[in-house]
Amino acid sequence: MSEKPRYERPSLQRHRSGAMNKMGSFPGLRSKGQIDGVAVGELVERYGSPVFVFSQRTLEDRIRTLRDAMRLRWPRVQLAWSYKTNYLDAICQIHHREGSWAEVVSGMEYERAMRNGVPTSQIVFNGPYKDDASLERALVGQSMVNLDHYDELAAAERIAERLGLRPKVGIRLNMSAGSTPRWSRFGFNLDSGQAWDAVRRLLGGGKLDLAGIHCHLGTFVLDLDAYREAAGKLAAFANRLRDELGVKLDWLDVGGGFASQSRLKSQYLPGEQATPPLSRYAEAVADGLRGLNTPPSEMPLLILETGRALVDDAGTLITTVVANKRLPDGRRAVVVDAGVNTLFTSFWYQHQIHPAVPLHGTPEPTVIYGPLCMNIDVVADSLLFPPVEVGTHLLVGPVGAYNIPQSMQFIFLRPPAVLISPRGEHGLIRRAEVLEDLVSLDRVPDWLRGE
């Protein structure tokens, strides 16, 4: 008896010119049954769904690639892991084992870096609000504090005076560079002369020494020229500091912002084609710094605060299909067990979505929704996706950057995270939350307690 073909739900696709042709996913959307050699099924069975999975191998590769690419082109280079990108202790410790320092933007982050054993002198402290106690701890600890505004400068002076210290500080600069939108709300503006005024004010105060300059252009910056231009402006500023004011800098910090392999919603080409490799970012920075006039013995330390570009591609979320629907406009809808509560970055990025098993059948325009009872909970809109059964695991990536720290317990608890070692071992690096984690913070005041 001949075998009957396996049933696939009926699908009728209107031909539209300019729409993705059916070869768009020929010969079938690639499935990814494993992550670094560990089967998806094994991970879900062990840790549940949804679950974040990090590849130690990818993370280490990215760190080493950037470090080596920059060291090839500049004599003194230091990476400072941007904590806000991913706070997990295990992830931070991988960075520190690779020799990275820490870059933090709040007292909480500062404490996390200390917990991970980072010496305070190897912490870069940025951000527009550093509370007095945190600022004091950082100045006393000889961290690299980059001042963001005049009020912070005054606060640092008060602390220095009170404690009888003369701390070294840096200042954060903002500027126009390349075609990236300006993040002009942070630091002092270089182009208008405000930064120069700030330096004179700082030196004139006589309580602080200027030891560094810092700028962070933005995030997911695809434009290499932005780095070339920004580094050029930093070098010119450093030259002027040296020539006119005799200031010798200890550090020169170009911030973070390099793009990962992800893809912005507005972006036509996928990351593999649009994102420059790390070596080209390094080249752009080195090109820009070429104008720096400093004797080799006084070369400032070049600090990179790269976050996203190092960890994003190392992170995948495994999620599971919980329902199929047909929308009134004819599109298919798939509901999965992780939404924007877990994948905050879905608001800005078109993540890649691979099924864990090969899918057959005609790809149709499909929306992937999360489990929240909110209209905004869209993981992917208008994806060409074949029919997929309830229970199928989907791999969403790259999601290693910003999702862990920005995920929230809205409606659902936060999922666990797992690390796979280069040898294929795997283990939790964050356990799944339980209700007690949340409600233990709640208090009911006395007046509500009586009968």
Binding site: H15, S17, G18, M20, N21, K22, M23, G24, S25, F26, P27, R30, S176, G178, S179, T180, P181, R182, L224, D225, S266, Y268, L269, P270, E272, Q273, A274
Partner: protein
């Protein structure tokens, strides 16, 4: 030179009123007695006219859009190569190049060779970076600024006079006559295409075009200059004639030299009233009028295919001035079954040889 007998894959079969170059490329190959290979068309749409020119193409296949990613494209190329065993790939659309540049190894594994610019060369000709050619090499590019904030628009009048051109690096350009129009054009370009928005001095004059082929080491293998005689409402040439102007060809030569351009390109230039040339754009591929080059004596598509195949082509013979073309728009009759074949199989086979 020996007859060229490799099978060639040609993209850009959309010979519509905003034509892709693939059909003109295939025509140049097919009509040259030095070409003895097969021609396989690669297209994105079932209705791309190139599918229905069986005199030119031995077969044609649908391929995934560039936005579908490299993996899908290479999977499809592997499928096609199992059947066609082509030796050369001639991609003819800008948006295809990012997936192919620097992929010699992966293409080589499929038996395919290309003759393409490097990523750095490709980026250097982005509209928002053309100004660097002026600053670094003295190439006459109209003055321009890249804008990322609307404030810059209000200061434009200090840089160059109205009218000026507001455009995005990707597509479209608007001529504006005052700050209000410039602000409006800035926002519509930014909304549609993002940043930067480019403001450029407007050069009054007539447009002339050059198809050129660079050897990748700064040399120019061939170049043909053309003046459009009839334009569509999209500004595309509907008829044109080859011209010769020493200044224009030496500008092209200089450009290929400073860029070390590898592969074919189309250079768009404006000649002002004083006879000076201004570079407007460099398209990183052949134009849809490239068959005129063949007609005038330089088979740039065949030379590109030969270079891709590793043959040495040093320089093409001089071309004839006054060679002309006119695009003829005719209807080709089909049956619904022919569409069905393409729709269900994604490919069409069989060349008509009469």
């Amino acid at each position: 030179m020996a007859r060229f007998t490799e099978t060639v894959l040609v993209t850009g079969l959309n010979a519509t009123d905003n034509p892709g170059p693939g059909v003109a490329v295939a025509q140049s190959l097919r009509d040259d007695p030095d070409f003895g290979g097969r021609i396989i068309g690669l297209a994105y749409d079932m209705l791309d006219p190139g599918h229905f020119l069986p005199d030119l193409f031995d077969a044609s296949y649908l391929i995934p859009y560039p936005s579908g990613g490299r993996e899908a494209l290479f999977d499809r190329l592997a499928y096609i190569q199992e059947r066609e065993h082509a030796g050369v790939l001639l991609p003819n659309l800008d948006s295809e190049l990012p997936a192919l540049m620097g992929q010699e190894a992966a293409l080589g594994a499929l038996g395919l060779r290309t003759f393409l610019p490097s990523r750095a060369q490709f980026d250097q000709r982005n509209k928002d970076r053309l100004g660097e050619l002026r600053d670094k090499f003295g190439i006459p590019v109209p003055r321009s600024v890249n804008l990322v904030e609307v404030e810059g628009v209000y200061a434009l009048h200090k840089l160059f006079p109205f009218p000026m051109v507001i455009k995005s690096p990707f597509y479209g350009a608007t001529i504006v006559h005052n700050t209000d129009e410039a602000v409006h054009a800035f926002w519509s370009a930014a909304a549609q295409w993002g940043y930067p928005v480019i403001a450029q001095a407007y050069v009054e004059g007539e447009e002339v075009n050059v198809t050129a082929l660079g050897d990748g080491r700064g040399g120019m293998v061939g170049a043909v200059a053309m003046k459009k005689m009839l334009l569509t409402d999209k500004g595309k040439g509907w008829a044109g004639v080859t011209i010769r102007d020493r200044g224009l060809l030496s500008l092209s030569e200089e450009l290929l030299r400073v860029l070390s351009w590898r592969g074919p390109c189309e250079i768009e230039v404006r000649r002002d009233r004083q006879g000076a040339f201004h570079l407007l754009e460099i398209n990183p591929r052949m134009p849809a009028w490239v068959d005129l080059c063949f007609g005038a004596g330089q088979n740039i598509p065949l030379a590109t295919a030969r270079l891709a195949a590793g043959e040495a082509v040093t320089s093409l013979p001089d071309y004839r001035v006054g060679a002309a073309f006119v695009r003829v728009s005719t209807n080709t009759l089909l049956t619904i079954e022919e569409l069905e074949t393409l729709s269900s199989a994604g490919e069409r086979h069989g060349r008509r040889t009469s």
